[in-house]
């Protein structure tokens, strides 16, 4: 047991081939350098998973890690990261979710659980405090996430056990299948469920009865009290409480960056009908929260009338709600709820599913895809029935669904067309914000270590569109103007470092970052009160930079270079025709130059320079990359 507060103090390694489990004490210097969560995973991934590793082979490692704040009363501290080499992208795979799994892992005594090898028969892994059991899961094969959760809880005779489940899509080898906690907490980007299923593991089930103590209880309590008040008085509080992230759909629409009909437009004429406001007013019946949340922002909905009467569930969040409406041109909110529910039960990533569908719709509308090729499906914009059918077919790898089940980039290769129209970076599909209307976000997608995604940086300050903030923070007024190009390298480096720290400590990014609660200054105080580790705000930021750089090093070793840090051609060459983000394109190369300079990466290749890595204490990484170049 380490004497640090906040941490559980142990790391659990499970070898599925040998059916062995071993526990090691958490190394204090690892905690100081990488803090936890995504930091622990990325460090181990760099050290233990090399370029020869097949993402679906037994040698890949699947890591669950959580952070030092989780298990305490620190507001929103509930999250975990799952990482492995990704079967969807072939590079660093990583995903994050909330709910009640992470805290249970801590109470069971662990900061990180690592699965390696492959079980010879289907199992679920039951971690019960110090005990690890490999339980038969033969009878769970093909069961959806909800059914599996029920079976496990009955099997163990414990309704309080927390589960992380791979659904049927994962078992069928869909490359963007997720791991689902609390039924609908989707850790679903980059195919971590697919990796879990490839290891013969249907689920991780965890029960813990231990406790977490903090280093300086009085200071910790004072910080918690301060932060709770700050959250309650924040201008975003009411909107988040009522709508979660779906509160931004109408704003994205008004600002002209709401991806519509596969990014052919930036606003959706039916936005009101599919808005967070409508979901809240007509369907939500109760709020739900992740562990230790003080907002809380999740919502349970019930559909009482119409053809989807009897449908109920939690969520969706903005990305899912927008993906299943404006992105495909679907104006029926209830159908989007149904589609989201199907993705949860089948265990797939909604963003990738909707990219597959909306990409196919664009090809169909352009006459590049015929009904013969789509198994007779009419893939006109907004055809909701076809969406539901395709979701099912993708999850079963059936017919046209089989072509889409590896993602759009492989699908374009198989079909020999449409590559130019795939909206992905490094094989990971883009999110619900058009980069022509948010240039910093766009740069974030281009360089993100897990591919085209916003959660590595999410520079929300662009939404304020206020040059004074850019001037104050970065000395460049344009840095925080959403349609400007200058200063974005500084903006994105800053936000990447910040988000990496949040992902390492594992509270909720929506609250701690978007609401500007856990700044580097505040994080320095919180880390000391919780763990006892003294770290200046500058040192806290260095942890973030260290995580970003080791992830880049992992990707460089996999062959990633500057040429891969690139947005789809549409965003670079075709301006939006209408709306508040029209008339401008994403001017990529100058922004990349600025970003690499800011990062200390080579301008030509995008590889971190030796002195940059050494300055972060990553000398071993520096010499390895030195040999590659």
């Amino acid at each position: 047991m380490t004497e640090l507060g906040g941490y559980a103090g142990k790391i659990l390694s499970i070898n599925l081939t040998k059916r062995e489990a071993k526990t090691v004490d958490l190394d204090k210097s690892l905690a100081f350098q990488f803090l936890g969560g995504r930091g622990f995973n990325s460090k181990l991934l760099y050290e233990a998973v090399g370029p020869d590793t097949d993402p679906l082979g037994p040698e890949n490692m699947l890591m669950f890690a959580t952070g030092p704040l989780v298990g305490t009363m620190f507001p929103t501290a509930s999250r975990f990261n799952i990482s492995a080499k990704s079967p969807q992208t072939g590079i660093l795979g990583d995903t994050n979710a909330g709910g009640h799994l992470a805290s249970e892992i801590k109470f069971a005594g662990y900061d990180q659980i690592v699965l390696e090898g492959r079980s010879s028969s289907p199992v679920y892994v039951y971690v019960n405090d110090g005990e690890v059991e490999f339980k038969d899961a033969t009878h769970m094969r093909g069961k959806d996430v909800y059914e599996t959760d029920d079976i496990i809880k009955d099997d163990l005779g414990d309704r309080r056990v927390q589960t992380a489940i791979a659904g049927p899509a994962a078992e069928n080898g869909v490359r963007f299948a997720g791991v689902f906690a609390n039924l609908m907490r989707a850790a679903s980007r980059t195919g971590m469920g697919t990796v879990m299923a490839s290891k013969g593991v249907k689920a991780l089930a965890v029960r813990g009865t231990g406790s977490i103590e903090v280093a300086h209880p009085r200071r910790f309590e004072r910080l918690v009290d301060e932060i709770v008040v700050e959250i309650r008085n924040h201008e975003q509080y009411e909107g988040r409480r009522r709508m979660g992230t779906t509160r931004i759909l109408l704003m994205a629409n008004a600002m002209g960056f709401l991806p519509t009909r596969h990014y052919t437009a930036g606003s959706f004429e039916h936005a009101e009908e599919v808005s967070g406001e409508r979901l809240a007013e007509e369907f939500n019946v109760k709020s739900r929260g992740c562990f230790a949340c003080t907002i809380p922002c999740s919502r349970f909905y019930v559909v009482r009338e119409g053809r989807f009467a009897g449908l109920y569930g939690e969520g969706p969040e903005y990305e899912s709600q927008g993906s299943l409406t404006s992105r495909t041109g679907n104006r029926e909110l209830e159908l989007a709820l149904k589609a989201n529910d199907m993705c949860n039960r089948l265990g797939m990533d909604v963003l990738t599913v909707s990219e597959c569908i909306s990409w196919a719709m664009e090809l169909y509308e352009r006459g590049m895809l015929t009904r013969e090729e789509t198994d007779g499906l009419d893939l006109s914009w907004g055809n909701g029935e076809a969406m539901l059918t395709l979701i099912e077919k993708i999850s079963m790898r059936e017919g046209f669904g089989d072509i889409l089940a590896d993602g759009t980039k492989p699908a374009a290769m198989k079909l020999g067309k449409g590559m130019d129209l795939t909206m992905q970076v490094k094989g990971l599909d883009l999110i619900m914000a058009d980069p022509r209307g948010l240039k910093g976000f766009g740069l974030g997608y281009a360089v993100a270590s897990r591919g085209g995604d916003h959660l590595r940086s999410e520079p929300f300050l662009e939404l304020n569109d206020d040059p004074k903030i850019g001037e104050e923070m970065f000395g460049v007024p344009e840095a925080t103007l959403r349609l400007a190009d200058k200063g974005k390298g500084k903006l994105i480096s800053y936000f990447e470092d910040w988000n990496a720290v949040i992902d390492a400590l594992e509270p909720c990014k929506n609250i701690m970052q978007n609401m500007e609660i856990l700044t580097f200054d505040r994080a320095s105080e919180v880390i000391e009160a919780t763990t006892g580790m003294r770290m200046t705000p500058a040192e806290v930021r260095l942890v973030g930079a260290r995580i970003v750089n080791i992830e880049r090093a992992f990707n460089v070793r996999e062959g990633i270079r500057r040429r891969d840090d690139s947005l789809p051609r549409r965003f670079r060459e075709e301006p939006l025709e209408e709306g508040a983000s029209s008339g401008t394109v994403f001017d990529q190369e100058p922004m990349l130059d600025e970003y690499y300079s800011e990062r200390g990466w080579d301008l030509e290749t995008g590889v971190p320079r030796r002195e940059t890595l050494e300055g972060l204490g990553l000398s071993k990484v520096a010499s390895e990359l030195g040999r590659i170049e």
């Binding site: 609390n182 103590e213 109920y312």
Partner: protein, 155 residues
Amino acid sequence: MKRIIVEAVECAGCRVCELACSYVHEGKFSPSLSRITVIKEDKHGLDYPLYCRQCQSCPPISTCPTGALSRTEGGTVAVDQEACIGCGSCVTACNYDAIKLDASSRPLICDLCGGEPECVRRCPTDALRYVESCVFTETLEDAFARLRMEWNIDD
């Protein structure tokens, strides 16, 4: 008499109450050591905290074989640690599943934090309230059944 009451539809299941309770009583964060326990049914979006209702007639007090449980002046149930043999009969006797045992089989029972319950103070949705009330008899089963009926959920 003042009691803790719960509005089931407001409980979001965040479990801040469990954390507040174990922290105040034990100085650490541990749902296993809290005197309040949230039961969650994710499929139906349901959450409900279990805790001592201070019933006038308290089966755990009357069934305790060693007389270790007694009523305090404030109306809560006190445990005489020396008399308690850790048999767990109080756990099964309670009509509201409000009692659990710690690792050394010691019953954990709400003491209302001496009149300022920390779980109520920290409840983010005000689902828990500490009010003047003569009786509060809703069970978890009652609450879940009521909400399922309101929402037309039958399975």
